[in-house]
Symmetry: C2
Subunit: 300 residues, 2 copies
DNA sequence: CGTAGCGATGCATTTTTTGCATCAGTTCAA
DNA sequence: TTGAACTGATGCAAAAAATGCATCGCTACG
């Protein structure tokens, strides 16, 4: 899109912080780039960069403009996607920000299922915590967010919500492995493997423990649910995860037992996008598929 | 905005239906314009016009693109407005689609009040019926709509709603002029001056008459409320209008008497904008002022 | 069946953009 | 304190892109 090149240049200067560095990314001379920025500011009617001795920084007007640029780029992508769709071609790219729990089973399965029908659609999956996911949406760095217990929910338009109880995760040889239900109190007698405090599961567990007048003292605290699972598999105590991140069939060596909702009320897994946005066709279709899958999962 | 000129050209071709005609509007040769359209289609990745023997017409892809163009233009206007605002200058342009009732008193007063504070803000006011007003919003031809009893309300995001009873409008010398309240039945004994059937007031009156088992037979039917008022002022019967279109102080020679809500339930005057849009600063400020004014009016 | 209107295109000309070299200023470390 | 290493800005010539003109081929309409 030649006529939108100036937007790329502005973003390049913003990213690199200087014209000369941006010039390399843009395959253009610094002087040419400089003059295009100046020409743009001229017709835009106000400067968009502060000239600092060490380079360029967006001023408030530039920040506003940058948001417009991102919005317009996204909308152009949507148009392209819709145009491709009406010509019968199913192409496109879907950008997803999601919680860790979706990585091992859910998203790989959904994406491969989707791509079996539309092989020309490509994906970007970024692991984001509850705060970053929403920021990604606002910056148009993701089309969809699939997040457990999101933080603010402003700017977040919910497409689907699904309840997720907290599950205890342990080796199949663990004393509690045969139970169908666990009280939180029972778990506290064993070694605890907990996700770090920014994660929704941890927040829920901390709150529940506080209600019991207890404080959780993990033997292992990690920001990787993979670590939680594997450490628990070695028989090293009890970890916690939500059902969407678990697959009993794939791990006969492990046991997953729900914690009583009387103790830990569980949380909500949300699928959503930026409020007010019109999603590209591919993203919308994928979202629809996920909603269907989640609803079926909920019924079983 | 030089880099968006191609969008103007596309719209010009769309409007005039041919490159050669559009070339005149664009101050460019037909051949140059032709090649710019071709170049754009090339990088856009698909044709956006159908080449007919008699000219050019947007194809479905072009329609999608056109909507994007309008959206992006509006958003750029919003950015400009916000930039002007943060530099302390209060400039801008507000486009309003409104019902006729707002023309004689309400809008002139509000606009002049607004401009006394921000003299650099300019206005476009278009009279639109209930259906056209909403279409104007969708096409980004208006920022705000101020409409009595709008038709669909899809795409219409309500900023404020205000109840408007239907008022009987007559000469001060009319036999019913001294009443404080009228039943619809009483009015039917006199000559009726009615707005045409596309207007909200007429719809309400027709419904009410039907409930009485009567049919309204006006001596004068018009699409101008101005006509209704003036004809009634000559003592030629009873007209109807909503309060926002009347000003008792300005017309001591006339009487305005509310119709009992038992007969005609009245309707709603809505202020709104296109769903999901971020309004330019000037339009938003003006909308806020109108909401305040309407709320105060409602209290007196 | 001819005329009028349409978009497309080759070619010379004009306009715009670019690259190079250089200037003027600031920062930072020796 | 001085000089090296950055920064953005700018004059000027070369390269690239856009434009205007003339003309082609086509279709609809009278």
């Amino acid at each position: 899109m030649r006529h939108l090149l100036i937007y790329d240049m502005i973003e390049a200067v913003h990213r690199s912080g200087s014209i000369r560095k941006a010039a390399e990314d843009t395959n253009i001379t610094a002087s040419a780039l400089n003059r295009r920025i100046q020409a743009f500011e001229e017709e835009f009617g106000s400067e968009i960069f502060e000239r600092l001795p060490r380079g360029m920084r967006l001023n408030p007007a530039g920040e506003l403009l940058l948001h417009h640029i991102r919005l317009q780029r996204q909308d152009m992508a949507r148009v392209h996607s819709q145009v491709a769709d009406l010509s019968g071609v199913r192409r496109g790219h879907v950008k997803i920000a999601c919680s860790q729990a979706l990585l091992p089973y859910f998203l790989p399965r959904e994406i491969s299922k989707y791509r079996s029908e539309f092989p020309d659609v490509t994906f970007t999956v970024n692991v984001r915590d509850r705060i970053q996911a929403e920021r990604d949406l606002v910056n148009f760095e993701s089309d969809l967010a699939l997040v457990f217990e999101p933080a603010h929910m402003v700017d977040f338009e919910v497409l689907h919500a699904m309840h997720q109880p907290v599950m205890a995760v342990m080796s199949a040889a663990h004393p509690l492995a045969d139970r169908t239900n666990l009280r939180l109190r029972e778990c506290l007698d064993y070694n605890l493997i907990l996700p770090a405090s920014q994660f929704g599961v941890r927040v829920l567990l901390d709150q529940a423990a506080a209600r019991l007048g207890r404080k959780l003292e993990p033997v292992l605290e990690t920001d990787s649910f993979d670590m939680v699972r594997h450490f628990a598999a070695y028989g090293q105590g009890i970890g916690f995860q939500i059902p969407v991140g678990l697959n009993a069939l794939a791990r006969p060596d492990m046991a997953f037992v729900p914690i009583s909702e009387r103790d830990v009320s569980g949380g909500e897994l949300f699928l959503g996008h930026l409020r007010g946005r019109t999603l590209p066709v591919a993203a919308l279709k994928f979202a629809t598929q996920i909603v269907t899958s989640l609803a079926q999962k909920g019924r079983t």
